[in-house]
Symmetry: C2
Subunit: 313 residues, 2 copies
Amino acid sequence: MIRVGLGIDMGGTQTKILAVSESGRTLRREVVSTSPRKGPASFIRRVAAVIRRLERGLGRTAESATLAVAGDVDVSGGILRRAPNVSAFERYPLGDALSRALKRPVTVQNDANMAAWCAYARELGRRFPNVVALTMGTGIGGGVILDGKLFTGATGSAGEVGHMRIYSGGALCGCGARGCLEAYAGKGAVTRQARELLEARPGVSALSRRKSLEPDDIARAALAGDPVAREVWRKVGESLGLGIVNIVYLFNPDVIVLAGGLSQAAPLFLKSLRRILRCESFRAPFGRVKIRVAQQTEQGALGAALYSLESPH
Amino acid sequence: MIRVGLGIDMGGTQTKILAVSESGRTLRREVVSTSPRKGPASFIRRVAAVIRRLERGLGRTAESATLAVAGDVDVSGGILRRAPNVSAFERYPLGDALSRALKRPVTVQNDANMAAWCAYARELGRRFPNVVALTMGTGIGGGVILDGKLFTGATGSAGEVGHMRIYSGGALCGCGARGCLEAYAGKGAVTRQARELLEARPGVSALSRRKSLEPDDIARAALAGDPVAREVWRKVGESLGLGIVNIVYLFNPDVIVLAGGLSQAAPLFLKSLRRILRCESFRAPFGRVKIRVAQQTEQGALGAALYSLESPH
């Protein structure tokens, strides 16, 4: 009997549904609109309908499913405690509702945790027992695999690396605190630092004539040799490096995987990131840790699909 | 058959040897001089002789022993990779040598890890699966219990909380980096911050007339109402609070236990520490975590003795 893994990655706009083989090969892929305004009951109905159609086409049924969401998840209750992108779904029993609709067990997990599982189980082939994944986008999330198991902590919140303080009292973060990693290496922080540098060094960069200063624009300018854009990514790499220094001192992982949209700019920031790590005097943990950039896209959905195959629910 | 746990806590000056019952009751306690200058072979001989005598007196023999040391330990090799206080013992096969002398398995562990085990298994009665202990002294060490097991990471270095960066670019730490937690909340940092405040506010404090400014002196002055001394401990509490914020975001523990000499000053810094934690917007992990001060002395030796009873070696 060939088992099928089923992963659902709910974003603020789109929800991806992935059916995979045990080796992680994609068997079917569907996308549905999340439409948070229609409410969670409508979302569950539409997702369940797509999954039933997908499984008819496949001629096979998954034993269970994993739903990955961006936010603070109560894993045991299958509830989103806090989800800025889909706040309409907060406190709704997502796990139970989807489980009833699909007539099988459903686990709800943080999407960064599932990205970490993808990195551990698929990209790294389970060769490294301790893996921390950073998902770099608007926010910076994190997922933690320790001794070959997903580690979620006392309330399912472990690995919230984006809000670790690296420059206490520094730049204001969306969470209300100052000096969080996210306030130095999230999408908004890349743009903010570009604006600050352009103001400090007027006339040096062609970027100053642009209205849009999205990370993509700044990456293209850096690749074309723009000095301010290059400086922005150097600073992002240093801040990420400091965050990773803390992760290494606390978790002592074998591998740290950078995932999410911003990780595509890694060639622009990896050098300054590694320079920060080389300065640390504790040789054993810093000599061991490898920094990898995720090759796989849709880490959340793929990780969720693989994770659904993991444990008897 | 009543089992005996055997723990050896090697400090830079003294080494404590503890035989305990399975419930953690002390059966025998001995202290030997570490005398690092005499070299590790002499140390092993003297410790083994004391243990043999102790066990004759007890009429029972421990099946195995755990040696706790301050420093970076290669657990699988039973070797001290880095130990500032007993550098003469670095790279010596301590575990193997003591195992041969005692004719039984010996595990070498970091002393903060054993303090964490003591907190988990003895003080908290194994009721909380995720516990992080901070040992506050000259350095700030850490030990991590996750899902009821000691977590040591890829190279045995997990939980090195003292060198996590909280104010990157800030005060210089003994490790060579700037802005480590230890540089704001270790013993030397307490004294340094007192000197800085005394210089900034001359004539305000009776402490300015003292030659010695050890943490004990500053604690006594604070209890007597000295405004500068009180301000020092307030600042120490804030820095510790920031370190704990990072620990909570990464490990999401049930309990954080403050141990070591400086933790005795907790009544002077706990209020400002808790104020920092209350400001965090992630309610689930910060609502869950309890901050406790270790009541047990000799946490390292007791934790090691209890840990020796844990696993089949």
